[in-house]
Symmetry: D2
Amino acid sequence: MTEHGYQVRTDLALEARERFAGTNTEVKGVILEKERDEARDITVTRVVIQNQAGAKAMQKPIGTYITLEAKNLQYADEDYHREAAVVLAKYIRELVPKKNRLSVLAVGLGNQEVTPDALGPLAVDHLCITRHLSEEQDDSSETVLVSSLVPGVMAKTGMETAEIVKGVVKETHPDVVIAIDSLAARSTRRLNTTIQITNTGIAPGSGVGNHRNCISEETLGIPVIAIGVPTVVEASAIVSDTMENLMDALEEVTELKSLRETLMQFQEQERQELIRELLEPDLGILYVTPKDVDETIRQLSITLSEGLNLAFAG
Amino acid sequence: MTEHGYQVRTDLALEARERFAGTNTEVKGVILEKERDEARDITVTRVVIQNQAGAKAMQKPIGTYITLEAKNLQYADEDYHREAAVVLAKYIRELVPKKNRLSVLAVGLGNQEVTPDALGPLAVDHLCITRHLSEEQDDSSETVLVSSLVPGVMAKTGMETAEIVKGVVKETHPDVVIAIDSLAARSTRRLNTTIQITNTGIAPGSGVGNHRNCISEETLGIPVIAIGVPTVVEASAIVSDTMENLMDALEEVTELKSLRETLMQFQEQERQELIRELLEPDLGILYVTPKDVDETIRQLSITLSEGLNLAFAG
Amino acid sequence: MTEHGYQVRTDLALEARERFAGTNTEVKGVILEKERDEARDITVTRVVIQNQAGAKAMQKPIGTYITLEAKNLQYADEDYHREAAVVLAKYIRELVPKKNRLSVLAVGLGNQEVTPDALGPLAVDHLCITRHLSEEQDDSSETVLVSSLVPGVMAKTGMETAEIVKGVVKETHPDVVIAIDSLAARSTRRLNTTIQITNTGIAPGSGVGNHRNCISEETLGIPVIAIGVPTVVEASAIVSDTMENLMDALEEVTELKSLRETLMQFQEQERQELIRELLEPDLGILYVTPKDVDETIRQLSITLSEGLNLAFAG
Amino acid sequence: MTEHGYQVRTDLALEARERFAGTNTEVKGVILEKERDEARDITVTRVVIQNQAGAKAMQKPIGTYITLEAKNLQYADEDYHREAAVVLAKYIRELVPKKNRLSVLAVGLGNQEVTPDALGPLAVDHLCITRHLSEEQDDSSETVLVSSLVPGVMAKTGMETAEIVKGVVKETHPDVVIAIDSLAARSTRRLNTTIQITNTGIAPGSGVGNHRNCISEETLGIPVIAIGVPTVVEASAIVSDTMENLMDALEEVTELKSLRETLMQFQEQERQELIRELLEPDLGILYVTPKDVDETIRQLSITLSEGLNLAFAG
């Protein structure tokens, strides 16, 4: 993750876009659309990065990023999760290729023994697997053939995750890979409340762990849909946020604009560097999670698999 | 945990004592001694709260608090953990009553399904249990009879943890209870690197979860030794620390003493209140953990049980 | 379990009663009634042991034993399990005392780390726990206050299970204990397809493990309802059954009555002794399970907890 | 597993060879050698199937089968397990190709959620994985590069295990695959006490579950060493054994040779068919395990991984 320099990392295109919000200018090559599902209290944002200029500004690959924000996802309300799964299924179907007997390989990325990184393996565990049952059926059927893989992390396998997925794709010939992963967000508000669906695959250094090498159409030769939920926020991000809020609050009650101005002279990247230096250095990068992360991750994994099951249930 | 007001909570007497360090005055009714085991890189601090004045100042019950600080505990070095267990065993023996056929009930507090709170149940799981084997032996032997209990958390049992422990103590008549628990620290530097041993039992609101009601000599009628390791830090604590570091750093390069002075006018409690308001409010109290908390907790639980096994192995 | 001599052990009163079926005589002091729920394909048998004569003949304590036989329980059909839970709830309510604000302590017996013995702890894990929520409500309400305990096994705790339960009962004053346990059956046909509910508590040596000492009204001072499912069969039982079937089958095609007669001269107990000697002796008592026992136990534990949740939901 | 007809299945070449023991003739094309390690109480048997005649007689592929019988493996004696791992390492090295920078892919076959089938995944979990660390080292080194894969079972993945392994082998180019699997034995005496190492790979229908399609040099293009431990015995096997023992025992005390003769007229296969019909049919094929199978499997998985770690530790 050091490849990101000292800028606080976010895997959400939505948050990358928000960096530009303050300046209020349009970002060239980036389209932003919002929809609101009032009944379900879900905001759907579509960020489309159209070209290299947009990709450079956003530091994300070209493609479509659909983000569902549903703050009730963090609670263990089964009815709500079921409705969220219906919405999720709709957007998955939108990004997945249309084809008879579509063959889908779902890949659960991450480390199943580290709770905030276990979302992918857990979600895959609840999928309805059908590829081995449907081999005899005739070719014209609308059935979707679902297979799944939990490749494990490099420290456990000795292999790049991308190597394993590539090998299995070449041998079993799916039409599309759906990669499910834990993400890192910039804002604690997004923790376990946001689902991002994108057709850009998984870029290097993404995910909570570091699943090296790309899992993308470029490397696999077939479309890769990535579905992710932010399960951690870097501790330095919340320090930074809080300090900005503090500066704003203090400005009102004191005449101390000069400190604010001093800090404003730093670029965001320099400020993050400063904050990281000021944070206790011994423990590596610290992550912030709610205490009931084990329960939350379990619930979210079921919602993701339900969404996929609905998307592919004939 | 709201019973603590807005002061950032610490379960470590050592950290409670450090609040007074800046003023450099002695705290009345509180004795502080430090030893250094250079070979093993372990600092042992003994805080003795002697009377009500000390208890009030420290916001901790009267008693002895021994803290082992060993920053290598956070790494999975088995040899080091084995040496730390030897040191731990020494201090446990110091606090435990001397008696032939001492009967010890080890209680693993916390929720085994929430990783940072699972330290107690996991530690108890590795203990050498001997009470049921030794019942026939003669009374003069030096054997220690070890039994263990994992009472679970109130949300799962519907009972106060203290009720369960009391009932079992009354029925099985141990001479001493050893309660093992996850703690909350003030500083990220102490995460998974510090072991506190105390003869004061477990006070209300302690632990990561909220194990209500005291488990102490007062309530159980027998001595209670509590052993704990900080496994979480409140997110607001690290924001606060970082901001103080920032103020110090900025002071050197700018003339902006006035902000610092403004902030210094707040009491620590008010400052914390401010920071909590500025933190994103939606997720309840956020906790900071290293990402590999699952592995770290497993390793620490083995070290605690090794320490206990050594302390009681004839 | 050696306390049973060489007779193959069964924890089911139904099977104890069937020993007398061949002779077709009534057993004195034992009442037997059968009902049939055709719609759900469930047979309900009620065995009432009325007095000491019946207890001696059956080698089971005086009391009522209700057995639900539902062979579809062994399959993972959620709808069927839900219906079985409804039937189960009805019979639990029949045996449980009638009282406003009934306080129930559910105890999950067995070893959660040994799959066929984990039924009790798993079932308790899914219960709706309400005792800690309802303490303030007024006394006339019909609410049932549910608490739960997983005492663990003696090898892990150093204490008799009965000691732990006694201590907690004395401290928290429930009106009734419901003890959930894995059982041993005589016939593989009953594996994971039969639920026994009894008001006699748990007798010594019952369960798959050996939960010593009684958990019964006599020892606890309050009624104890025991709910169990056979999850194992001793290997010697199926050898014995198969041999009897073989003798019957051979009789038809050969004139070899004399072997049959020879074997018939043995009492069942002697025959079992012989079979145990002929079985490989090195591994202790072997148990027979279906291979998917992990999944089956998980499913059954949910059905039991559903039954209890329904029985106590207002 | 029905492809085996009604003959009780064994995955052990040793047991396949023992079928001929009664006749005391040599089996053509099959060499049998025994060694005895008295100090460690381990018997090592080497069965070499030399040609098609031997393969047909044994119903096993051509190749070398080394079997370690060590009855103390079933106990949780860590010292003994460590010594057994040393012996195991020796025989693994014997079968593995000699080469600088040998690249080994260890594959843990079986279903990690079904205890007796979880041996492979558990063993792989404890291996020292080095492939990703050693990529930069120079080519002349004696280092072994170890990678590992847990492909999962077809019901979970929708893919043949062999497809997944093939894909990963083609992409990552190991020199040898080591496949670790749970086996079925014929005799309960071999349960958890026997380790078979063979260079023939895994044949169809082997393992406790049914890992379809071969994982062998023929299908993968590189040598495949299979390591297995019998963790289950079919219930019908122990019935059959016990009945034979019974016949022998009865012969001595009665004149009832005729039944024995009647049974002897059946071929083994017919007898098994008869016994399966007489066994309760409802639960599918039942398996016999010791009750503490969870603990035993965990211990054995560590021993296997230790053996592999020793074999490949430079």
